[in-house]
Symmetry: C2
Subunit: 331 residues, 2 copies
């Protein structure tokens, strides 16, 4: 008997297979086929529309909570499509017996991040499930916003010779959750943050940005593999250019994780034509969420569909699409 | 210590209090303050945007499933705001170990109802929670659509002397779920259905419809009380005009429920100026989901904020806003 496993929710190969083989045959259509994180809709004025559920455990962690994640995650999905996020929905499923005080803390976090991003909650829903039928609280947010004029984000626009930029230190969110689960004391916090002001500055600098992605579940490894495959290009990144904190490296080593597969909740990866890369990088450094931005590699006209990491020793290691259960309930 | 109880999710007084006293202070703004089921958004072209999570138990029941409910429910929320539903999102949270075959059945139901309604799923999300952390599958759908020109749905438009129309037999969904839970064999099925074609015909007949509501959680009793209160009118309905199946009456009597508080998933209540009522009623009867439509009462310039039921014996019984736990996980 085929059953759903944790891998299907982990953002790697199994998630993609579930989408293509199980969901798409039923719910598929041309718009869903684009597989953007946000749907670009033809309603005279182009708007984007996206949704995500948040089931992160623990609900509160250094640097954020399920509430801040539920806003920044959906805002970021919109921002990655070249959209100015505007309106959000919030739908919560709460366990019977959940403390009101904790709910208030979560709502406060939601509103704080919504203010920071400049978005409004405009509709919502609350369900309560009997004790034991849901673990505390799950939150769904959907979002819509206006697409910036002249922006055209699509993996199809990624060509060989483009620069790959990451907006800052990677793996912080995943490492923070892992440290908490393994009771490891570490001076780490989640990077959860809304990136729409950063992306606005980037598009002001260049309308030629080909793709933006936030490397959440499955991390940088998943995003690079998705784009290499969708754009049919090779990707090479350099180990000595990757911004990874020593604490994250140490924790990942200790627990047997590759930091490239760890989730980020306030970072983005941009594919930018080489001529525009310096301008975009400069614009990013002007934003608090992009101050540590760096070019980490480029796209190639060979090794199509593959992602290589040039190690400090000069060898090339293939970075695979993450498989199976990475870290459950990371977001 | 204050905690969330099942009542907060039941659509009655406690739900309303939770919204006003807990959620609104954090997430509130002028648009959310309208408290429509769908948010009407100013994005040059007016669109509506709504969301709902579905946690119904059992997942399959006579007449539908969590999948058909997840589509018809959100389509209906849009339809009730005078909107042509167009695009839906789907976000599922699935328990580890869930059978693929069952997931397929649910997805098939979703697509069947989406086809019937003429809406597209354009974005989505899947999370998997470890065994025991979610009961099977929870589904969130958000939806957007274009508002029909000239339509202006608001409780503020409800005036004394308007007719109240219900689109067909009430309580079928709630009674079906109750029968299943109590292992009672009954020839009953859920009325789950998308009502957007019905509402389109109604607006073609009259743009003066003041309010439409689908009486889901909390049933007809909740809707009538909400409108009486929001519009500051009295409401009187007549027992001998109420379309309630004998099976539903019998089951409700047996289990101690008032059919007026039982959930419906394919019915609507309309508040219509008396002059337009016959036209609207005629248009409704032309639609399969409105063929049993009847006028059940009217609004009054007295007993403001109250709902009265004129019994078969001629006495008036006050219909209160449902309180506390009615039927958990009804949708």
């Amino acid at each position: 008997m085929k059953v759903i496993t944790l891998a299907e929710g982990a953002g790697g190969v199994a998630s993609s297979t579930l989408m293509k083989e199980i969901v798409f045959p039923y719910l598929g259509n041309d718009i869903l086929a684009e597989l953007h994180d946000g749907a670009i809709l033809d309603v005279k004025n182009k708007i984007a529309f996206t949704t995500d559920s948040y089931v992160v455990s623990p609900r509160f962690f250094p640097g954020g909570s399920i509430g801040s994640l539920a806003v920044s995650g959906t805002v970021n999905d919109l921002a990655m499509t070249g959209t100015i996020p505007k309106y959000l929905s919030a739908a919560v499923i709460i366990e019977e017996g959940f403390e009101i005080a904790e709910l208030k803390s979560i709502l406060a976090d939601m509103q704080r991040v919504a203010n920071e991003a400049g978005v409004l909650f405009v509709t919502g829903d609350t369900k309560v499930a009997p004790k034991g039928k849901v673990d505390g609280i799950f939150i769904n947010t959907a979002g819509i916003g206006n697409i910036i004029d002249g922006v055209n984000i699509s993996p199809k626009n990624v060509k060989p010779g483009m620069k790959i930029i990451v907006s800052g230190y990677i793996g912080d969110h995943g490492a923070t959750i892992l440290a908490h689960r393994h009771n490891i004391k570490a001076t780490l916090e989640s990077d959860a943050a809304p990136l729409n002001h950063l992306t606005k500055k980037m598009f002001d600098a260049s309308k030629n940005i080909a793709v933006l992605r936030d490397p959440t579940r499955g991390g940088v490894a998943a995003v690079l593999n998705e784009i290499a495959s969708a754009a049919n290009v090779g990707i090479i990144i350099e180990e000595n250019l990757l911004p990874i904190r020593e604490t994250v490296k140490g924790l990942a080593d200790l627990l047997g994780f590759d930091p490239l597969t760890l989730a980020n909740e306030g970072k983005l990866i941009a594919f930018v034509p080489a001529n525009d890369a310096d301008n975009v990088l400069k614009a990013m450094k002007d934003d608090p969420n992009g101050k540590d931005a760096v070019i980490i590699g480029e796209t190639l006209d060979k090794a199509k569909g593959q992602v290589g990491l040039k190690t400090d020793l000069g060898s090339i290691r293939i970075i695979e699409m993450p498989q199976g259960e990475i870290v459950p309930r990371i977001c």
